[in-house]
């Protein structure tokens, strides 16, 4: 995944993509806009390029724009009729039907009450309609989705969430060396952590948040001295 990290500003035409588009299909990710065969950036940030022909702008963002297939962490806000309102940090609250849980039938409904944390997948979302979530995969099994019990939950920026979710991300590897833990990272910039003891959970959360504050340039330095974070 070669990253051409040139900074693009909104309104700028990106000619590289236009040439490429003449020959073969190009995938425009978020942050790029097509104006009948010219490609214009609509957000400011580094332009990322993934091998075949996928381009997107990796800009700093805290507000989540729901998109189909994303795995998100939501807080159940309220129960409206036969579906729940879930806050996933987007423009409006998402809805999830009570049937979208494993082994949920008309009679035995999932015990979900406001304030619970769920890890769900965005079923469909577009600018006009309210996003819809689902907590069960196509086979009907819960897989990795579902309600998250205790542990600690905090919000971070979308960039940090995405950075943690890249294949073989060094941070997670480094954290694993330090202590056993369980983590659920939502693409909507929310992280849920669970370690054996409370002190470890706090130290883990601080380590991740420190990564965001101090900027990710010195990522190895942070990974090395995670040790002292955990002792602090």
């Amino acid at each position: 995944m070669s990253t051409t990290s040139t900074i693009v500003m909104p309104g700028e035409r990106i000619s590289a993509i236009e040439e490429l588009a003449k020959s073969k299909r190009v995938i425009l990710g978020p942050g790029l806009r097509r104006q009948d065969d010219t490609v214009v950036a609509s957000k400011a940030g580094p332009l990322r390029h993934k091998e075949p022909s996928t381009f997107w702008v990796d800009n700093y963002q805290r507000r989540y724009i729901p998109a189909r297939g994303d795995l998100v962490l939501g807080i159940v806000r309220s129960k409206a009729g036969d579906n729940y309102r879930v806050d996933i940090g987007a423009a409006d609250t998402a809805s999830i039907s009570y049937l979208a849980f494993e082994a949920a039938t008309k009679k035995n409904r999932p015990d979900l009450n406001p304030g619970d944390l769920i890890y769900a997948r965005v079923l469909n979302a577009s600018a006009d309609i309210e996003p819809e979530l689902v907590c069960v995969n196509s086979v009907g099994k819960r897989g990795k989705l579902g309600v998250l019990a205790e542990g600690f939950f905090f919000k971070c920026t979308l960039n940090l969430g995405r950075m943690l979710l890249r294949e073989n991300c060094p941070v997670l590897a480094a954290l694993t060396r330090e202590l056993p833990y369980e983590i659920a990272v939502g693409v909507n910039g929310r992280i849920w952590l669970k370690a054996h003891s409370l002190r470890e959970t706090i130290a883990l959360a601080n380590a991740i948040v420190a990564l965001e504050q101090s900027g990710c340039a010195e990522i190895d330095k942070i990974c090395d001295n995670l040790g002292d974070f955990l002792q602090a």
Partner: protein, 235 residues
């Protein structure tokens, strides 16, 4: 009592600009921006839920407030707010998020001259860092003609006391056409054109400032991207 402002900068130069991204934690994007001694803080939240009366199906509703330091906004502040909203509405890509609201708040911290231009620039920076979809970025420049008839770019408060005319221009970053013109005082058309070119040149400098700041702010995560590459190469 002179502040870091016009004294140490030539007549046709912009005052020293600096900005800090995301000092506030509650909103989606915030920036503290200063031009010379004038300091403004702008924050952006959106797209968020919109009240039903100003809901529109084909675009997002833009709410823009300008808050002075002291007391309730008077007429002067309302005019400034209206100017900022017009420029933002032109630049914002509203149809990207229909049925939603984009809220931009500008809070004046210290007014040491040309606060209008400062507010517009801080709003633009806040939208850039807040991740709002924009057609183009924009920059505003303020310029006056003092008694001697000279053009003073981005004047300090002390110079604006006795000025013959004052101009505020806003340019967009793609074609560079004019988004906002606010003039006060008597001037000739020739002077108007000269000042317009002077401001256009200055706006290029501001766009460069935006790019550098965004690069610096993202510089942190760029290194991580490279790191990712090496890390994934090695493993």
């Amino acid at each position: 009592m002179n502040l870091p402002g016009k004294m140490d900068v030539g007549k046709d130069k912009l005052r020293q600009m600096n900005c800090e991204f995301n000092p506030l934690s509650r909103c989606d994007g915030s920036v503290m921006y200063s031009q010379g001694a004038t300091v403004v803080i702008a924050a952006v939240l959106g797209p968020i839920e919109v009240k039903t009366q100003n809901l529109s199906i084909d675009g997002s509703y833009l709410e823009c407030n300008y808050r002075p330091k002291a007391g309730l906004p008077q007429v002067k502040e309302r005019i400034r707010e209206a100017a900022i909203r017009d420029v933002l509405e032109l630049a914002l890509l509203a149809e990207a998020h229909p049925r939603s609201k984009m809220s931009v708040q500008v809070q004046e911290l210290e007014d040491r001259g040309s606060i209008d231009a400062c507010a517009v620039n801080s709003a633009c920076l806040a939208m850039l860092v807040g991740g709002l979809p924009l057609k183009y970025s924009f920059a505003a420049v303020h310029c006056i003609i003092n008694e001697q008839g000279e053009y003073v770019l981005d004047p300090d408060q002390s110079e604006t006391l006795h000025q013959r005319a004052s101009f505020t221009f806003a340019f967009d970053s793609v074609e560079g056409n004019l988004l906002l013109v606010q003039t006060k005082g008597a001037f000739k058309i020739a002077q108007f054109n000269d000042i317009e070119c002077l401001c256009r040149a200055a706006s290029a400098e501001i766009f460069q400032f935006y790019r550098n700041q965004v690069a610096k702010y993202h510089g942190r995560s760029e290194a991580i991207a490279e790191k990712e590459e090496d890390a994934s190469m090695e493993t």
